[in-house]
């Protein structure tokens, strides 16, 4: 226990020291963090309260249905925390140099596992926790719940809920590594990805939200009744269901029925933590060794994938046509090979592409047939916002770490006659090309599906380019400012404090775009009702404002990024 406390003490001291450094730059970073995180939390709070008010007072869906929707959201949240922990756990528990060092010390493997798990859980889940807590506050404030409800819910319901997701993630990871050493990593990753997609599909297939709404609405206006018999039996064993049951009975003032769910969550969490500890005692070291072997085997395999045009030193007329600069050529080749030789990079790209396809197919099955101008404007902006969210996620994962990926090897670039400006714009150009293609595919795909006219499609396409430019510049600039050259794992870079801050910043930017567009869009849709031909002119100015706003974000971020990349290395 002593050594466990010692290591945890050292870790917390180092975190506190880095948080409260007394130079002006750190102070600025801290203030910016507080501002952006605080602003974002506030936004989520008002959004949660607004949505709760709308669903219960305007849409009259009733408390039961409302909590079942909440349960579905929590399920997605649970899976997100779980997958996030699996990804980051692999980096912290198996690939980190610190683990190698700790393994050489007389500390038990189970303790190392515990230290790294705690470190990992707070590292990878803090932003999600902030979002969850803000939503809980927004939800609770609608019901005028007392302060101790929040305290109890956060620490004894919500935290155990997240910990269950985290512990399941780490136990799953140990199992996956054991299996990977037998069947190979590529097959395993394919099976896991299919498994997770199936789990999500089966959940929504079982819960069948459309059928549930139909069943409950048969009893209108008595929709506040408890329709527990409509819940499929399997769902009752899921932690997201326990959380919503706790919340449902709490807001109904029936604490006798709420408390058992708290015990269920807490005991499950405790049981899982103990199980994980026991499993770690037996399997953590074994799987750590297996993971090292897997990495070594992967390194010793020479790549079977060859592409002459991208081989270093290969003569190719294409490059002579594309660029006269050998610098641009080698930078492109280096980035290409470093990306495609790192499974964590290309696998994430495949997953993101899959997510985009799922999104487009889901939007394609929507049959909105909206007539009311305000709802048409809202549906347009919701789809647009979701597109923006996807672009921001891609930028966060692939653009934000771009400068950090120069890694310790940045000395080779910095001491060469390559202008850092050129390097920066090389990164910006390729990142923008990627995000722009994704943005246009998303815009054209989703907006066509939701049945907007050609003019609106054009408007969305222009806005898509603006959003891609702003988000790419923002993530590259911030990635340069918060560069972590010592961190080799791009996933950890993309889930760092600076990355979370940038992502929240991009949400603020997207909200700004929506605010600029909402009223003119409403006017535009309204003009159809009154057959007003001048409708289009309503949108030219706001789109110009969006373009200017995006350009401003892009120029500012690029300037910050360029200055940052020139800092002492």
């Amino acid at each position: 226990m002593r050594e466990l406390l010692l290591v945890l003490n050292l870790k917390s001291a180092s975190i506190l020291k880095s948080l409260f450094r007394q130079d002006s730059q750190s102070l600025f970073k801290m203030l910016a963090s507080v501002l952006v995180f605080g602003g974002f939390a506030l936004g989520m709070f008002f959004l949660a309260r607004g949505v709760t008010t709308y669903l219960l007072q305007t849409a009259h869906i009733g408390l039961f249905l409302f909590h079942r929707f909440l349960s579905m959201l929590l399920y997605v949240f649970f899976i997100t925390v779980n997958v996030g922990n699996i990804i980051v756990c692999y980096a912290t528990l198996y690939r980190s140099q610190e683990v190698g060092f700790l393994m050489s010390l007389p500390i038990s493997h189970a303790k190392i596992f515990l230290i790294k798990f705690v470190d990992n859980f707070f590292y990878s889940s803090s932003t999600l926790a902030l979002i969850g807590f803000a939503i809980l506050l927004g939800y609770g404030s609608y019901f005028h719940l007392p302060w101790y409800f929040y305290f109890f819910s956060v620490f004894f319901v919500f935290l155990p809920f997240m910990l269950i997701a985290g512990v399941i993630a780490v136990v799953t990871l140990m199992g996956l590594i054991s299996v990977a050493s037998r069947i190979g990593i590529r097959w395993l990753l394919g099976i896991v990805a299919t498994g997770y997609v199936s789990v999500i599909y089966l959940y929504f297939k079982t819960t069948n939200p459309v059928q549930l709404v139909g069943e409950v609405m048969k009893h209108y206006p008595d929709v506040n009744t408890y329709f527990g018999y409509l819940d499929p039996p399997l769902v009752q064993y899921l932690p997201n269901h326990w959380v919503t049951e706790f919340l449902y009975w709490s807001v109904n003032g029936n604490f006798e029925r709420a408390i058992p769910y708290f015990f269920l969550l807490f005991l499950t969490m405790a049981g899982l933590v103990v199980t994980a500890g026991l499993l770690a005692r037996k399997y953590y070291y074994r799987t750590w060794l297996a993971s090292s072997d897997l990495q070594a085997m992967r390194g010793s395999k020479s790549s079977s994938f060859h592409l002459t045009v991208l081989e270093f030193g290969a003569e190719s007329s294409i490059w002579k046509k594309l660029t006269r600069s050998p610098q641009t050529e080698v930078l492109f080749k280096r980035d290409f090979w470093m990306f495609f030789r790192d499974p964590s990079q290309w696998l994430h790209l495949v997953l993101m592409a899959l997510l985009i396809v799922i999104f487009l197919v889901s939007v394609g099955t929507l049959e909105l047939h909206l007539i009311q101008p305000f709802m048409r404007a809202v549906s347009f902006l919701v789809v647009f916002l979701f597109n923006g969210f996807l672009i921001a996620s891609i930028a966060l994962r692939f653009v934000f770490p771009a400068v950090s990926l120069e890694s310790d090897c940045f000395w080779a670039v910095r001491s060469s006659p390559l202008e850092l400006r050129k390097l920066y714009f090389h990164k910006l150009r390729f990142a923008f090309a990627l995000t722009c293609i994704v943005a246009e595919v998303l815009v054209l795909g989703s907006m066509t599906f939701v049945g907007n006219d050609g003019f609106l499609l054009g408007i969305a396409a222009v806005c898509g380019i603006c959003v891609a430019l702003a988000l790419t510049s923002l993530h590259l600039g911030a990635g340069s400012y918060f560069a972590m050259f010592k961190e080799k794992n791009p996933i950890r870079v993309a889930s760092s404090h600076g990355a979370s801050l940038t992502f929240l910043g991009s949400m603020v930017y997207l909200s700004g775009v929506v605010l600029i567009l909402i009223v003119p869009l409403h006017e535009y849709f309204e003009s159809f009702v009154f057959s007003d031909d001048s409708a289009r002119s309503w949108l030219y100015l706001p789109v110009a404002v969006v373009a200017l706003f995006s350009l401003l974000i892009s120029v500012t971020s690029t300037s910050v990024g360029l200055n940052a990349i020139k800092r002492d290395f």
Partner: protein, 235 residues
């Protein structure tokens, strides 16, 4: 030729390098010595453009590295204290990458890569990915990369760390030969016997200041006295 004029580097309240001036003529093999934390690597990082000096200027072949950086960088090769490579690239790919950064034409680059693979005897592993390399292998690849573009100044930070005796001999012989061919070498090291064997001139830095400069030539040799002098000066 290398010239440092009143160079100072401060990190907050800490002065890592304090107003140092040096002039190393073309073809000289210069040894830069000092205890741990004396400011050697900081000085080298300022000379190579990785750090910006708080005051003063660093000139490489007459070009200020921070004002006229591109011509300055074209004329030197650099070997850092830690031979970091891109883990996912092979040694050969790294050499081509560095050659490309120096705008070398593909024919010249190809010839030079093959030549350096022979010189530093890296042929047995040059086509494996760097993630498989030992420290010594990395060091030899980095040394090859530094010499790719035929620089007339070589700035080396601890070049022999991690090298086995055979590789160390290889590197020492190559450096000696290159100096005879007119290459200027600025080398930071802790290995005093290497300095005695190779260097024409030395400077000892302590707490960011140069405390002694010495010349070694036919008339005046260190003859094993460098260690005593170093220990005396840095205690």
């Amino acid at each position: 030729m290398i010239e440092l004029r009143n160079v100072t580097k401060k990190f907050g309240s800490l002065t890592a390098v304090d107003n140092i001036s040096l002039k190393i003529e073309a073809g000289q093999f210069f040894g830069f010595l000092g205890p741990n934390g004396a400011g050697k690597t900081t000085t080298i990082k300022m000379m190579t453009g990785l750090y910006k000096p708080t005051a003063g200027e660093c000139l490489i072949n007459g070009h200020n590295i921070h004002v006229n950086s591109l011509p300055a960088k074209r004329s030197f090769g650099y070997v850092p204290d830690q031979p970091y490579l891109y883990e996912k690239l092979t040694g050969r790919e790294f050499l081509y990458f560095v050659g490309g950064l120096f705008d070398m034409s593909s024919q010249v680059l190809k010839k030079k890569v093959e030549e350096l693979i022979d010189v530093f005897e890296v042929g047995s592993f040059v086509d494996k990915r760097a993630e498989e390399y030992s420290q010594g292998m990395r060091q030899r690849i980095v040394l090859s990369a530094a010499m790719l573009h035929d620089p007339n100044v070589l700035i080396i930070d601890e070049p022999l760390v991690g090298l086995d005796p055979r590789s160390a001999r290889l590197v020492k012989d190559t450096l000696k030969r290159k100096t005879r061919e007119g290459l200027t070498i600025f080398m930071s090291t802790h290995l005093l016997e290497i300095v005695e064997e190779l260097c024409d001139r030395i400077a000892i830095i302590k707490s960011g200041r140069i405390i002694r400069e010495e010349v070694q030539n036919e008339e005046r040799k260190f003859n094993g006295q460098l260690e005593t002098m170093f220990l005396e000066l840095t205690k």
